[in-house]
Amino acid sequence: MSSVRVLVGTRKGAFILTSDGKRKDWEVAGPHFGGWEMYHLKGSPADPNRLYASQSSGWFGQLIQRSNDGGKTWEPVGNKFAYEGEVGTHQWYDGTPHPWEFKRVWHLEPSLTDPDTVYAGVEDAAIFRSTDGALTWQELTGLRGHGSGSRWQPGAGGMCLHTILLDPSDPGRIFVAISAAGAFRSDDAGQTWRPITRGLVSEIMPDPTAEVGHCVHRIAMNPSRPGVLFMQKHWDVMRSDDAGDNWREVSGNLPTDFGFCIDVHAHEPETVYVVPIKSDSEHYPPEGKLRVYRSREGGNEWEALTNGLPQSNCYVNVLRDAMAVDRLDSCGVYFGTTGGQVYASTDAGDNWAPIVRDLPAVVSVEVQTLL
């Protein structure tokens, strides 16, 4: 009997939501690490009971937690994230050089094949890797050191590396995205990196087509077609058909092309989901209507999905890591809001229902499909 486990990170703890394959009745466990900011939790594809979680607070800093039993029990593991070599500087908000300073882990991406290997995307932007189950961490220095690091500048939310995508067809290929430096790709398992931003246009930048500086909010892929990427940029929804070498805009008929999250249907690689947000200065849905938009054509043509979602007086946000899909036959889609709701659809977005309504503000949502 298949089941799903939804890992929810919030501003005040982590919650684990479980259901059988019908996804009708849910058990809610938590809060785990109550009172702490839980930026991200994710399970190992190679061992679904191995989970990693990023736990942090403004008082007590960064911790990494690991579970070997699907989140029932946890143990703190390594939390030493030391930049390698000469730390160097990036640009501060006023354009002056500012030394790299570790603040927190935004995203944890377990290896597709080894439960003890996991990547961490951190603020100030860098990528670390552990090969011993998160006991120790080593920076992949080629990213900051590839040449443009001194020109990176933080976005309003900090200079965070928030997206890590591993290519299931090519163990050497890794994609990352950084606010507000852009998107980068490695083809040699993280040793060397290069920007993948050709085709991105950001009018808010002095040079709208510069190689670095684009505020990429999220990149998503369908694992069966890893060369096709979808991106929610600060403004603009983008698509690449060549692993990020070139991008084109596919915002089409969206009511606004600002937003944070984006994801792809588990079985239909041309079916894409976004949650349009009114603007960069008004982080809530247009018209107070919470609408997921779905394209079945890989972008450009979008339809509003509203059944079961509030269509008046709704002013929540959906953050960049707060949408996920399961892999059951009828693809489930999940997202969490800053108002503490976690919504689920068991029919690819046609109908929605809240699993929970009153959690702390949701930062991240991940789904494990357990067969």
Binding site: G35, W36, S57, G58, W59, F60, G61, Q62, L63, P76, N79, K80, F81, A82, F102
Partner: protein, 98 residues
């Protein structure tokens, strides 16, 4: 025996309740007390002092004998009342936020 009182989040993390009692070798200073604390409870590494720089985290304060010792040198001797165990060494999460 040195008595240390942790803030609630760190008591939960270390799975302790009430005071922590530590044996400290040599001089009783912030550094030697925190080294002993982290040696006994490794999960606290990085939560009181930065994991890389060793500096006190900005929103963690050190108190003893009704005095704020946060800005004292890490190697300054703590009050005799702490060294003798008569008074506890308090780690306090600063009041911050709304």
């Amino acid at each position: 025996m040195i008595r240390v009182i942790l803030p609630a989040h760190l008591r939960n993390l270390a799975k302790v309740s009430g005071e922590v009692q530590l044996e400290v070798e040599g001089s009783v200073t912030q550094r030697s007390v925190l080294d002993a604390l982290e040696g006994r409870y490794p999960m606290l590494r990085g939560t009181i002092r930065d994991r890389v720089t060793g500096q006190r985290r900005p929103f963690v304060r050190f108190f003893a004998c009704s005095e704020d010792l946060s800005h004292e040198s890490p190697d300054a001797l703590l009050p005799e009342a702490v060294a003798s165990g008569a008074e506890p060494f308090l780690l306090v999460g600063a009041i911050a936020g709304g």
